[in-house]
Symmetry: C2
Subunit: 352 residues, 2 copies
């Protein structure tokens, strides 16, 4: 967390206090329930900001025809490209690649075998070699680096890496590359009784390592691609779970609403995404009865972040696929597109 993010936290503690009083007791005394400060200070005025504020007010105002009971206030957020930077490569892929040298040290015979040999080239500086890795290769690398160990060992290795690794462009820990405007949305929704969930195509166990510190989202509110575990006993007789190379949930595309049903059991009222992998989640959310908010983050700010996707003539990339069809879907189905360039005053907390 950067210094700026801490400032945001301080700012919000006032409204959190106001909320505690409001929900707990003072509402019954008729005192005002909401702080009067702007809940989304990093957003420019415009259709996107208005859509969020109007939605929250409509769904949380007693007597509103669109009122949503607190228990049903579920909001789901894709992570990569929606809550934090996904370029030039997903953070978890960087983790997996950077685990390979330790793996090769333990099993030197892997150094000459693809895809491990390809990864070693990438890490030596041949960034372009990353394009050689297929999805099958990535699954093999995930299995080799992130399974066959206890869940606690995985957690402590991932935690250690996250504390040290830096994004190549900003030279900052990945966990500081979250979007300040989206952090504000998370806090604004929570301050209004929403339970916020991450619903990511990334690995559930990986994201759970930092979700609480980074987003204020506890592990149990992270839904992601998940492998199986196996219960067993250590030499000391103590039971533990071993991560297995068996995919239980591929939390992408149709897997997102399916994963939401499995892990949450309710249709979300609000959903946020940025790529074709989020299409079904946005569609499923918006198709529910009553007030619904589906939003799509468009990466159109080449200067402050990145610009990609064929919509609006931006170049296509390997990650965060934002197709013209997705853009058309947004228009047709009433999802609100968030332009990073136009809607966000500030992208990162560390910006001056």
């Amino acid at each position: 967390m950067g210094k700026g993010t801490r400032n945001v936290k301080t700012m919000y503690s006032v409204s959190a206090l106001a909320r505690t009083f409001a929900l707990g007791a003072l509402l019954t005394l008729g005192l005002p329930a909401q702080a009067q400060t702007d809940p989304l200070p990093s957003w420019n005025d415009g259709a996107a900001k208005t859509a969020i504020v109007d939605f929250v007010q409509a769904t949380t105002t007693q007597g509103s025809p669109k009122f949503v009971p607190p228990a049903e206030r579920i909001a789901t957020f894709d992570q990569d490209g929606t809550l934090w930077v996904e370029h030039p490569m997903y953070t978890q892929v960087m983790y997996v690649l950077e685990r390979v040298p330790a793996l090769v040290k333990a099993k030197p015979e892997l150094a000459k075998v693809a895809p491990f040999s390809t990864v070693l080239e990438v890490l030596k500086g041949d960034r372009a070699a990353i394009a050689k890795l297929t999805e099958k290769d990535l699954l093999e690398l995930v299995a080799a680096t992130s399974t066959g160990m206890s869940v606690e060992t995985f957690q402590s290795e991932a935690k250690k890496w996250l504390a040290e690794a830096k994004d190549p462009r900003w030279k900052k820990p990945y966990t500081e590359l979250t979007y300040l405007p989206m952090q504000e949305v998370l806090k604004y929704l929570r301050a209004n009784g929403y339970k916020t969930y991450i619903v990511t195509g990334g690995g559930q166990d990986f994201v759970r390592v930092y979700s609480e510190a980074t987003y204020g989202i506890p592990p149990e509110q992270v839904v992601g691609s998940a492998g199986g575990t196996k219960y067993g006993y250590g030499k000391d007789g103590k039971p533990f779970l071993t991560k297995e190379p068996k995919l239980l949930l591929n939390d992408n595309n149709a897997g997102k609403p399916e994963g939401i049903h499995l892990m949450i059991g309710r249709r979300p009222v609000a959903a946020f995404g940025n790529s074709t992998g989020d299409r079904q989640m946005l569609e499923y959310t918006k198709a529910g009865d009553g007030a619904r908010l589906s939003m799509l983050v468009l990466h159109d700010d080449a200067k402050r972040e990145y610009a990609y996707g064929p919509a609006q003539g931006l170049p296509a990339t390997k990650v965060g696929t934002f197709t013209q069809a997705l853009y058309d879907d947004a228009k047709k189905k009433g999802w609100t597109v968030i332009s990073m360039r136009n809607d966000w005053k500030k992208i990162f907390a560390f910006e001056q």
Copy 2:
């Protein structure tokens, strides 16, 4: 919910209010955090009640060496036989059996085919025929009655049945056959910042239909045996999920800690069970660092409820297997056994 349960609710609203003030703001003013009333009035004084109260005080008192941060306060409860009656047959099995006549009406050829024909015998009054049903038969019956429909259709059918069905002994809705002392434990833990989860071998989708109204546990805090769903579109173009006859999680035995990792991602601090299917959950919970509470409900009250299990010379039954080995495990591993006969002043809210 019976009348008595509502009384308990009223009683607890006082401590809930106290808690809101305490956690939200008044703690900082140094006012007392806890209401002084007995949080477990349906419990007799004894080792079990003491174990619960001591555990809660040790884990929630600031400065206690066993203090557990609020975010880590996870408590898991088996359902059948731990939170409500499981005899003479699990409620969900009764649901599945009682769906069969409608199924046979739609497909008359099933009337002469096992296991459907066996179920028709049972429903005609031949209760003993239930013993003919194997586990494979039950899975076939679940698939036939509870899949191939939208999740919403399943929910509304199960809800309708639960509103009408009655337990054969007490002639009351199944949802009134919850154990009042365990309802008190759920509320006591929640009033002290614990998140309470059901972790059941029963169907996750089935239990989620009534968990909130019956136990105050929202659907997203129910972990159970779960089938897959498939995302698709209706004739109106609207997306929906269809329940599939594919088992994703068998939430029994080792499946309980595995399911807990998948759905919660943290090791529980407290766990409650009553049968061999809960052994690994109790063991996994107790093996964690710091303060841990594992408790086992012993059905030893033939008069007020049922007595079963070979421990203490009780007869074995098909459901809720409580073996001598489980009883020995409890002693060896420091789980506390709850005697329904001795520890519970009242079993049901509707008792006079």
